[in-house]
Symmetry: C2
Subunit: 361 residues, 2 copies
């Protein structure tokens, strides 16, 4: 395993020209067949999920890291044989502009920092992959999209499930109208969050169940219907008021779509749930789990949905890298992340005011 990975990594590094010839020593940059990715923020998701996934990607590789913790830098350098010059702190991050090894900056920080690091990465001329939720506010999302556009770099949101063929099958069923008019979507996404002092409990860091897990249910309601909601209501609850003082532990939200379809959704840091159902005029659909890292599966009135995939995040990153290299449309561009955050803002407003919030279609 180590041997194979070492080989892949070494060949990737060679292919990308890293550490052999300085990039700017070439008269013209050579087309790469793998993009170098720098992970920004080395928490659980980078450490346990994305870095291992990057060992399985074919179109990109782990080229660098950005971290505020020197001990983490040492550990990652050793584990992934990263050259010194590809290790950044938050202070010297902007110098990444001069590093040809880094093609993509993957922002894996708490949501409140997504805008800042996306914009800084864009200004450094790097493509950006940004974890979900895109940002805590529509204004942030718009600024991120603008910065990437202005700097002629792409912006992908890390909606891994939309790269999963099982989710794509749901979208195909709707696009081809195989189940008839979508009438009701029920989606519940949550887990029991044991941590009590994480960014997930902090409003200023973009925490809360709706922002973190709710976007899965919201996305599902949107991709199952293929529409944008026009009316939003929401209710928030907590069973742990001592911990959930600033953000929601549980949010229920309801959406009405232009076609008349409605969605009944739940998200929570207080319980495990991972279910998607749709009631349609000529059929039905259910997925469980619908937003897991692997094993997404389900059934519709048209048959079983159970495509086997390898590493979901590797698939996502390879798809995004391929789109960048081939200059093709991204599967989940910033605009798609923004569409969710627009509704998330409406959900928070509806919960806060206790009133239905209208949205333009």
């Amino acid at each position: 395993m180590t041997t194979r990975r070492d080989f892949i990594r070494t060949s990737a590094l060679l292919t990308a020209g890293a550490g052999i010839l300085p990039f700017n020593a070439c008269a013209l940059p050579k087309a790469k067949d793998r993009l170098g990715v720098a992970l920004v923020g080395l928490g659980y998701y980078s450490t346990d999920v994305l870095a291992p996934a990057l060992q399985e990607t074919k179109k990109c590789y782990l080229a660098g890291i950005v971290t505020g913790t020197p001990e983490k830098a040492v550990r990652w350098q050793k584990q992934y044989k990263l050259p010194d010059k590809n290790i950044y702190s938050y202070q010297n991050f902007d110098q990444i502009a001069n590093n040809p090894d880094i093609d993509v900056v993957y922002v894996v920080l708490p949501p409140s920092m997504h805008a800042e690091y996306t914009i800084r990465a864009a200004k450094a001329g790097k493509h950006v992959w940004c974890e979900k939720p895109m940002a805590p506010s529509v204004a942030d999302c718009q600024a991120m999209i603008k910065a990437c556009r202005d700097n002629k770099v792409t912006l992908s949101i890390g909606y891994r499930t939309q790269h999963d063929p099982n989710v794509q099958e749901i979208i195909r069923l709707r696009r081809q109208n195989e189940l008839g008019k979508i009438r009701l979507v029920t989606a519940s996404a949550g887990y029991y969050e044991q941590r009590a002092d994480n960014w997930k409990q902090k409003k200023a860091m973009g925490g809360g169940a709706m922002n973190d897990m709710g976007v899965y249910a919201l996305q599902a309601a949107r991709y199952v219907t293929g529409e944008e909601p026009i009316l939003v209501t929401a209710q928030q609850f907590t069973t742990r008021p001592a911990i959930y003082t600033e953000v929601d532990e549980t949010t229920l939200f309801q959406l009405q779509f232009p076609s008349g379809a409605v969605a009944n959704c739940a998200t929570s840091f207080g319980m495990d749930m991972n279910q998607l159902q749709a009631t349609c005029a000529n059929g039905w659909l259910r997925m469980e789990p619908f937003q897991a890292y692997g094993g997404i599966k389900g059934e519709s009135s048209k048959g079983v949905i159970d495509f086997k995939i390898g590493n979901q995040q590797a698939l996502q990153m390879d798809n995004d890298a391929t789109a960048i290299m081939q200059k093709k449309a991204l599967l989940v561009p910033g605009e798609e992340g923004l569409r969710d955050i627009r509704v998330v803002e409406a959900i928070h407003e509806a919960a806060r005011t206790g009133k239905a919030v209208k949205l333009s279609a």
Copy 2:
């Protein structure tokens, strides 16, 4: 089949003494081993469901009918060999007081007529079985309960599913705390109602999806949690505004319970759905269908739930007849129907005002 049914019916009639000896010819009324039931309102449910079920009951039998349509009276008399004296119109209904063949009046009319006929039956000294929803208003329910209490007769609500051992298993799991704290109940009950000019579309008759189908989802949220909701929100929608001018085609409603459990429910006349799920601290539960006439089944984290039963309505009526004969507690007394209608009223208010409605626990 006909032979067996004829035998059962004949023996039932003989056993109950109907048509052989006038009841009041005896010095003291003999204890019956079957109660005579008069169906009030001979629509679909009486015709296609309850009357056939009464051919399979062991503790009660079809003894009479109350109808405003003389042709129906002729047809039913012929089919079920009912004596002339056990046929009533709405005008002479109160004379049922003098008919010892009739022990129970089963009110199967549109909801707006439940209170009137329950109260008239009670005043006639007959036990009352009343279809769900109990009535369109809390005030009606209270008057019905009072009339039955004042006249020393019992009042059962036709919540057939609560007699189903599959539903009883759900209640047992909660009572014995096998799944841990109930956190979220998701219940969806609906069907595509093709009729456009039925009582179900008329407000004055107690129609609407919430009243008719919504009580199943509401009941489920209540029996899964074993609690009464303290906060209610609701949203109503229609996809057929030309038909649903007075009542709701689709209602979404959310409940918060004292323990912190929440429920996310949907009901509709615009789509087929019949699903119940619960997310619990130490397990889960799902039932589909959860409110069908037969075949209720599901699974929990403790195992499959799939008890086979015969005719569900026969089971319900036999249970209620047995409770009456043995003077035992009814499984679903009027007070239980009232508990639902109290919440239904709050749901309608919440939908109308767009505001959360508080209820006392």
